[in-house]
């Protein structure tokens, strides 16, 4: 197991290095000069060159690349070209909001998907199954940019129960979490249904029925646990995506998360902030996927044995 963790850790480092290099190169290749945004057009060519020199943007790309990784190795993410503040505090300020929204969305998704998927699998081809899958289809078909305003109109404007957007008001997280969670729930419930249907056909389930075990026990102890592996992979992937910032949802609900920060930085060509945000997103993906792989071992002892 330790060897397995070591291998995963090493491959994670390679992935993060690859992503960081790619982002560095891409952002320096795309059109648009941060100095134009910083100084405006009124600046003289001499002032522009002076600032370019101060920010070390006049160095050869390879040297900038080396300096970026040297600083990164020392956990220095640089300074924002616009706010002239260190990037770390800006990122740290946004991470809790993103984490909060991610966890709340997952909670919503799991709370909806597991009952819906289980009912659909148990009552396959019945009215229950049809209804559950239709609800799931609707959930996956409505994009966030529509779902968000619809939820706001209903819950905030019509019923007056919740704030339209923001983070400080009471109950502010419910609507963004519902927006993100409902789309995820739709995908998850389909996965739970498909995975459960496969497991329910297994011999050991038939044996459990033959032994006279209750449906509840068969489902909770035997079926759901074994059906969890593909569902867990999906949750892991979605968790990584959500940690990267659900940009549209964050913008609709004025949620000051990482996605919002990333988009702003890209628009302004704020290189250090863009690089830091994307690095964070890739680290989240790698970390969550590594943890998911480890959880496989907990859920399925056969994987642990293979690991040995």
């Amino acid at each position: 197991m330790i060897g397995y963790i070591f291998r995963r850790f090493f491959s994670a480092l390679v992935v993060i290095f690859g992503v960081a290099s790619l982002v560095f190169l891409l952002i320096h290749i795309v059109p648009g000069d941060p100095l134009e945004v910083m100084l405006g057009e009124t600046a003289s060519a001499a002032d522009r060159e002076q600032l370019r020199h101060l920010l070390q943007l006049d160095l050869p790309l390879l040297e900038q690349f080396y300096q970026y990784f040297y600083a990164l190795f020392h956990l220095d993410l640089g300074t924002s070209l616009f706010s002239r503040e260190a990037v770390w505090p800006q990122l740290l300020q946004r991470i809790p909001a993103t984490l909060e929204l991610t966890l709340a969305s997952l909670l919503v998704a799991i709370s909806i998907a597991f009952p819906l998927g289980t009912i659909a699998a148990l009552k396959k081809d019945s009215g229950w199954d049809f209804t559950a899958m239709t609800v799931s289809l609707i959930g996956v078909s409505i994009p966030n940019f529509l779902m968000g305003p619809l939820l706001i109109l209903f819950f905030s404007i019509y019923l007056g129960w919740m704030p339209v957007s923001g983070q400080e008001e009471r109950g502010a997280i419910i609507l963004p979490a519902l927006t993100l969670g409902s789309a995820l729930a739709a995908i998850l419930s389909r996965m739970v249904r498909a995975s459960l249907l496969e497991v329910l056909r297994e011999d050991y389930i038939r044996t459990a029925y033959a032994k006279g075990l209750s449906l509840q026990r068969i489902m909770l102890v035997h079926a759901l646990r074994n059906a969890m592996l593909p569902v867990l992979t999906l949750i892991g992937l979605q968790f990584g995506t959500l940690l990267g910032g659900a940009v549209i949802t964050e913008i609709i609900f004025s949620w000051q998360g990482v996605g919002d920060l990333t988009i702003d930085a890209i628009k302004k060509r704020d290189y250090p902030v863009v690089q830091a945000c994307i690095l964070l997103i890739s680290c989240s993906y790698v970390l969550v996927n590594t943890l998911t792989d480890m959880l496989y071992g907990v859920l399925d002892p056969r994987i642990r044995l293979q690991g040995k």
Binding site: W161, P163, S165, R170, S254, K268
Partner: protein, 502 residues
């Protein structure tokens, strides 16, 4: 076993009940009355340090937190703000601070040394201030006493005073490298309280009223928050449909005032197609600007004929405008060598802003009617702006915001202002225009006005831009919010008198 299962069930039940209560507890069915006045912004201010602010939101909020030496009246003429001035010679200006002036918010008096320190800080190359270029004509600054300060210029510039609009910072904090960008200390009508996430709180000194700026990017969300009473007022950056909708709400107050932000179509004069004056004139005649203003902008704009609005002291109010004449446009196209068998194709670049794309689509449709095939290309702001500056375009549309000085003509139309040396993005080169711009730079204001009027006539004839319109300013607020008045340049000075009547 059954006891164990029952216990677990009870635990799960309790857990669900607790989560439910927490959620319900978080839901507020009714709004608590609040004293803070909330003002919605379309974007977050970038910096609260006036030495570095270039975006509209930062500049407007900084006006409340700091005071500059001069300001502008409704005709865009400079007027005293923190100081009065006297032109001793063409290269020597003396400023005297007003006797009754507010102290800085950290308690120190504003003195000439603070003015000197602020401007020296901007002039310092190491600080890389975007405003350095506008004042680098300053040769040196001398403090005569606590109230008097002299500016010496390298060469005469009759418009020099118009550039002294940057908020004054305290010299003691400048020396300590105080982070003004996040913790501003000025001597404006409002003092900074806190800035967390997308909320910025300032306090009015006169009565301790707290004003909270909340940045909300989506216009629909800003409107919904206003309707639900989560914010008290918002200004500009709303689509026409939203304004129309809000104007029908009985609990919402809406006010409009003419503005000076100039929308235009720009051409690349180095492109063989758009270099042809007849092509540019055909496009100008083919656009039905009145219809766009009426149907798309909801009459919340004025037709423009020049970069300067009519109320500007240097504007030419007698310019002949290009009225909608599709037949004349077709004739000009024929004269330019285009016909139905050889139609004109032109690429129109715009940003990815949905409203700009919508406008571009309407212009595309109007031009199609006279036989001009327009290919629309929209890009993210960085790419679009970069292409425009590099001259990689045939036609584009943009807006000039916050123009106050006629120096804009030099910056936009002088042959020496081709990027990166200025904003002559269309590569417009005309000796006569250059000569008029250079002449104006040597004249007194009254003479300059005459020269600039001639220049505007010349530019109108050569048509490097098609002037479109000046968009109005709009403020929408709750009915109980009173005392807010719109200004011609769209600043937030109206917050000085705003009150909530409960």
């Amino acid at each position: 076993m059954s006891n164990c299962m029952g216990g677990k069930r009870r635990q799960i039940g309790i857990l669900i009940a607790v989560i439910g209560l927490l959620i319900l507890g978080n839901i507020s069915c009714s709004q608590q009355p609040r004293k803070t006045i909330r003002f919605a912004l379309s974007s977050k201010p970038v910096t609260l340090d006036p030495r570095f602010a270039t975006d509209a939101e930062s500049s407007r909020i900084n006006r409340l937190l700091y005071t500059s030496l001069i300001d502008f009246d409704d005709n865009y003429l400079p007027v005293p703000q923190l100081a009065t001035w006297k032109e001793i010679t063409a290269t020597h200006y003396r400023f005297r601070l007003k006797k009754h002036r507010r102290k800085f918010h950290h308690g120190k008096s504003v003195t000439a040394k603070d003015v000197q320190a602020t401007y020296l800080s901007i002039l310092d190359k190491q600080n890389a201030s975007p405003h350095r270029n506008s004042i680098k004509i300053i040769d040196h600054i001398t403090v005569l006493n606590a109230e008097t300060i002299d500016f010496y210029l390298q060469q005469p510039d009759p418009l020099f005073v118009s550039n002294l609009v940057i908020g004054i910072l305290p010299a003691d904090l400048l020396a300590k490298q105080h982070p003004f960008n996040t913790h501003p200390v000025g001597n404006g009508i409002m003092q900074f309280l806190r800035w967390e996430k997308n909320r910025l709180q300032v306090q009015r000194l006169a009565d301790q009223q707290i004003i909270e700026f909340i940045s909300i990017k989506e216009p629909t969300i800003r409107v919904l928050k206003l309707l639900r009473g989560e914010i008290d007022l918002l200004q500009n950056n709303l689509p026409f449909e939203h304004i129309q909708y809000l104007s029908r709400q009985t609990n919402i107050h809406l006010e409009q005032k003419p503005g000076g932000n100039f929308s235009y179509l720009g051409f690349n004069l180095q492109d063989k197609v758009t270099a042809n004056l007849k092509v540019r004139q055909a496009i100008a005649y083919a656009i039905d600007r009145k219809a766009i203003i009426h149907y798309v902008l909801g009459n919340s704009a004025r037709l423009a004929s020049s970069i300067l609005p009519p109320e500007h002291w240097a504007s030419n109010q007698h310019l002949t405008t290009y009225a909608y004449q599709p037949e004349k446009a077709k004739q000009l196209l024929q004269e330019a060598g285009y016909s139905t068998t050889k139609p004109l194709h032109i690429v129109y670049k715009t940003s990815s802003n949905p409203f700009r794309i919508r406008l571009a689509s309407i212009i595309q449709w109007q031009l199609k009617k006279v036989g001009i095939n327009v290919v629309l290309r929209s890009y993210d702001w960085g790419t679009f702006y970069s292409d425009i500056k590099a001259g990689k375009f045939q036609m584009f549309s943009l807006i000039w915001v916050g123009i106050k000085s006629p120096n804009i003509f030099k910056y936009v139309f002088h042959s020496q202002s081709i990027p990166p040396s200025g904003a002559n993005r269309g590569r417009f080169i005309d000796k006569q225009s250059d000569a008029l711009i250079d002449l104006a730079a040597t004249q007194a204001l009254s003479q300059q006005a005459v020269t600039y009027k001639t220049l505007q006539q010349r530019i109108q004839q050569l048509l490097p831009y098609v002037p479109l319109w000046y968009q109005d300013h709009v403020v929408v607020s709750q009915q109980n919010i009173q005392g807010y008045h719109l200004s011609i340049d769209g600043n937030y000075d109206g917050l000085q008198h705003i009150i909530r009547n409960n």
